[in-house]
Point group: D2
Chain length 391, copies 4
Amino acid sequence: MTSRTGRHFLHIPGPSPVPERVLRAMDRQVIDHRGPEFGVLGREVLEGCRTIFRTEGPVVIYPGSGTGAWEATIVNTLSSGDRVLMFETGHFATLWRQMAARWGIEVEFVPGDWRHGVDPALVEAKLAEDRGHSFKAVMVVHNETSTGVTSRIPAIRKAIDAAGHPALLLVDTISSLGSVDYRHDEWGVDVTVSGSQKGLMLPPGLGFTAISDKARAAGKSNNLPRSYWDWEEMLKPNATGYFPYTPATNLLYGLREAVAMMLEEGLDNVFARHQRLAAATRAAVEAWGLEVLCQNPDEYSPVLTAVMMPEGKGADAFRAVVLEKFDMSLGAGLSKLSDKIFRIGHLGETNDLTLMGALSGVEMGLAAAGVPHQRGGVLAAMASLRAGLDG
Amino acid sequence: MTSRTGRHFLHIPGPSPVPERVLRAMDRQVIDHRGPEFGVLGREVLEGCRTIFRTEGPVVIYPGSGTGAWEATIVNTLSSGDRVLMFETGHFATLWRQMAARWGIEVEFVPGDWRHGVDPALVEAKLAEDRGHSFKAVMVVHNETSTGVTSRIPAIRKAIDAAGHPALLLVDTISSLGSVDYRHDEWGVDVTVSGSQKGLMLPPGLGFTAISDKARAAGKSNNLPRSYWDWEEMLKPNATGYFPYTPATNLLYGLREAVAMMLEEGLDNVFARHQRLAAATRAAVEAWGLEVLCQNPDEYSPVLTAVMMPEGKGADAFRAVVLEKFDMSLGAGLSKLSDKIFRIGHLGETNDLTLMGALSGVEMGLAAAGVPHQRGGVLAAMASLRAGLDG
Amino acid sequence: MTSRTGRHFLHIPGPSPVPERVLRAMDRQVIDHRGPEFGVLGREVLEGCRTIFRTEGPVVIYPGSGTGAWEATIVNTLSSGDRVLMFETGHFATLWRQMAARWGIEVEFVPGDWRHGVDPALVEAKLAEDRGHSFKAVMVVHNETSTGVTSRIPAIRKAIDAAGHPALLLVDTISSLGSVDYRHDEWGVDVTVSGSQKGLMLPPGLGFTAISDKARAAGKSNNLPRSYWDWEEMLKPNATGYFPYTPATNLLYGLREAVAMMLEEGLDNVFARHQRLAAATRAAVEAWGLEVLCQNPDEYSPVLTAVMMPEGKGADAFRAVVLEKFDMSLGAGLSKLSDKIFRIGHLGETNDLTLMGALSGVEMGLAAAGVPHQRGGVLAAMASLRAGLDG
Amino acid sequence: MTSRTGRHFLHIPGPSPVPERVLRAMDRQVIDHRGPEFGVLGREVLEGCRTIFRTEGPVVIYPGSGTGAWEATIVNTLSSGDRVLMFETGHFATLWRQMAARWGIEVEFVPGDWRHGVDPALVEAKLAEDRGHSFKAVMVVHNETSTGVTSRIPAIRKAIDAAGHPALLLVDTISSLGSVDYRHDEWGVDVTVSGSQKGLMLPPGLGFTAISDKARAAGKSNNLPRSYWDWEEMLKPNATGYFPYTPATNLLYGLREAVAMMLEEGLDNVFARHQRLAAATRAAVEAWGLEVLCQNPDEYSPVLTAVMMPEGKGADAFRAVVLEKFDMSLGAGLSKLSDKIFRIGHLGETNDLTLMGALSGVEMGLAAAGVPHQRGGVLAAMASLRAGLDG
């Protein structure tokens, strides 16, 4: 029997549930994108982005997806034939590498096991070897949405500095921004890439790049063709709150509201909440006798938890049972993890009881799908949450 | 720490959560209540009500609350000085009695312990004694929202018939309609009173009365003054889908959508879902070592479960902890049950995972508030839900 | 050909168009009407009502229509057999009189021609004659929605005082409140009746009564039965922002937003805007060579303008043409004015260009329906609006 | 005095007003873009696009603006160094040319006076001269949003065929699709570019390209780098209703609803309505004694009308008066037309009375800003509308 009344539990690692307030803010007539009211909106959202990215520099907002912001980063900073250093942390790192290759970038792609983040020591070693400074950029996925592993950007920054290497640091925060502590300026990131539909609690449709002076300078002399994504074309009208082509006005309404909500809660509280929900989820996984994909506790993702299926049990059949019986969407394993893991999103507009509903659905789903496990994951999760509350 | 991001868990026994589809249907410009488009709307919702009340007769829709529909029932059928038979099933039966008294009705109020529904045998006995047929009506609350006890209307109907008594049967279904199987015509009810904000999944603001021929005939000769609530004034324009005074148009938009949703799910499926959620809730209560207020399993409410606090522990302090720490609203004990019970609503737009979130909140709240209990209520609830799914 | 794309022009004299902001404010989950968040909402809307009614005393908000608030006024202040003084200003005065009669009130109903408001001199004369003070109340419709005539309440108050008569002054402001300057305390009104769906820019579903001390005192000793409408039952929980039975929460969300919008614009600006739109409408009517129903310029309604059809032309056929061809709803003539007039609403969420769209629709409709008229009403209206802007 | 209550009149030539139904359809929780429910949505909107573009071939939907779809068209069909033929019809043709240049395309840009569309005879002449078939594409803006001139695509197609030239025909319909009759397949267009925020009545945020077999084949061998915009990457998952990266789900909800609305009205009725509103607007302009920018009646735009200011009067000051006094946004003159013209949008969710409100605002604004003109444009517009209705 299917229960389709009531709220769908959307627990993929993004798009994440959109708050009622944000949906309602978007449910408003579009306005003249050249008129004075728009200028106020534009300045507010651009300023709001700087607060969230923790930067004094410019943040460019594109009508587009996070994938578009990846492309914007490449075409605005690199030249065909440039060498870059990337790390195989999972599916999305692989996709970004493929994109770079399509733009004629030569990628040194350090192999990985999809269970660890970028090793700062390896970054330092690779860069130290590169005496001729042939690497123009180090490109890192902050939170690997495909694995639930969060790389440690400050340590990577330190590694680059330790190697005395001038490479740009380009970081994909598509699934981390707004969920995990992140500091564009303080951490010396050159381009931070993000999207609207994860920690920012918006529907998909906006891509972002935060840009350091060094990144912008790189764009003055690189040779990749560009028009839509061109930073300079954006930054001119952005100065007064406008855009060079028609912006996605209603998503900007939503962005204004989402930023307001995040600041009302307090960014530190937002991050702590994600940590608490993630810890409870891992407690449940452990109690079920299942294994978290991420192997380094320092790299556990606060955004999602990827769970390994017991040998011989397909993750997709399990997810189908959960969707059918409990009206919950879980994330699938991607490419080489296909059918081997499922992913539980616990990001954005999520709180304790919503998470408990989701974990209950997982536990009931394991039973319904005949997946061997220990009962009581939900009890462990509740104990973890309560410990977190008291802490 | 309080978590205020994410969805509030509204688990009082009404108002119940309003589906996104219903809210969106209401979020529409008002129309001319005398124009042709309104006539179509009016006929649709009046027909929809007949389907939900399971009657071929008229259902009157008032701008007002369920309390208003109580008053409408009294003033349209009774006369000052009339005797009626009522039963003390809880707080709402008591309030309806007080209202009747304010209208000059003489109420025989059979005492009760607030843990049982109306005893059909007692109905039969009381009516059999009343040889002169002085009782003009038997007034029963179908689902006592204050106690979580559902009286058995078909058995009460049989009792009246067995006594050969001509009294009207007036039934309050404010918190049962749309959640519990109910059949106005088949069960020989004369007036069924209801409201919008419970099983119908609407915001509060509409009251309903379904009317038998016998009830309508009684209104032709009774003497209570009335204007706003007068059935005859309503029924004339209702014939073509209109109302004698300005109707609550946007709530009618919502009513149209809510009825459509209920029929899409299928009324029988709706009722079965409520039974399943209620059984899971009671399983949790039992596992916690707490006691359900309702003592007769044949009268367990599918709408809400009232839970008795252990001796010496206040329910209101517990509820405050749950609201503060887990952003969930539970129902309070009313009048003589004040601070002695809490009530868990599991009605309307509610599904398995939402219920599990709620029960997790109760279990964590019991711990947080220092209420003695056994852990594992959520496990019992999950077992119950899964058994229900397989059944 | 019918054009059904685009915005319907709702120019009946209420329900009036609901602002996007108000609809969006209502499109929100219902909350626990016994919880702390509700208390804040309740206090805000009750305070907001006092500001709009311009009273320091209580305003009671009912789930119900304005008709319900009429009934509340009668049952809370009068006794069966009481004499009251009313004036036949139009359809709604007649309906209120009928309601009073149903409650056993003896109404002296001073005849009128439906083209004038209440004559203050007549009030004074009638009350002066009533040496025994048999009239318990003077009941006046402030703005007759059926005729577009606004009676002068301050002059009526003076007339009562000049006669030295103790009668209560009960005023229906259902279609004037929020559109026309109105001062409950300053004008010495005892009960002000209103509704949500006109100047307050809300959907229908709320009724209001503002209550003087004298009115409340009258309720302590009157004899009409009541429960739902009882003021004292309301005022007790209202003191902390709560209600004795389930309030229409989502309409209260809307009320909070609507009051905020009115105060942002400034009440005086709101009233001036209505005056300006009404003047432009009358200028158009005059230019068309048609006649405004209201004959006393001091009593022109800022809310609606009733227009007399030329002899031999039916208003309803004309209105049907306007609805069919131009997707605009105009108000019909009621009872004895049926088919003889049409009414143009220009209240609430209405501005200059919306009014011009509406008047263009009337002018095109007159032509399309073959109603004799002079072209150019819209030019006269524009001249009037521009004069108003410059003024 | 400013009137800010009531509906803003958005009469720029896009973004156009979004229907209440479309906004409400978008105001819904996001769903899993990999789940079965999304697949149904994806197939529906892709099929809907084919109906609107009138093609049997693929239509690609991008998260992005129309400008992005311009870029997609270039990078998927052309190679650096390719020659293309373009025509200076106005600001947007000029922008598209600049974009092509940024991608290394050699543009032959035939000068124009911004008051005419593309001359089919000139197309034929230019192509006939090009014996070596060096032009890889003819790139035409269907409806020049900056001038209100609509080029005649079928005649241009014929011209290309008459010249026996194999160039691709690439057409920008950003501001015409959904407002003007358009037939991708029948007219032999190779790529049709469009956007969401004009005739499709959606907020901005989606770009579209409809693709002929020939265009797709061209993309197999061209050399421009691309990833985000790559057609082949899109078309693979589109086959089952999915997308290669996160789509703008909520805009797709809106697209589904907008297509449904257009088909309910009937595309031919939609186009006829635009023609009728445009004719009425031109009638008003003529009556005011002002001049329509477009000089060829066969090329009058049904979407917008650009109006020339009298010598010595600035358009922007006039527009500011209209915005300030009448809360209406009109379009500005762009680049070389800056301050010389204003543009009246009459597209999408617009009907007769809304247009009349807008034209009244223009007429009052002309007076308020001291722009010499004849009164009575609104009368001429009404006469035109009525003639259109009767026709």
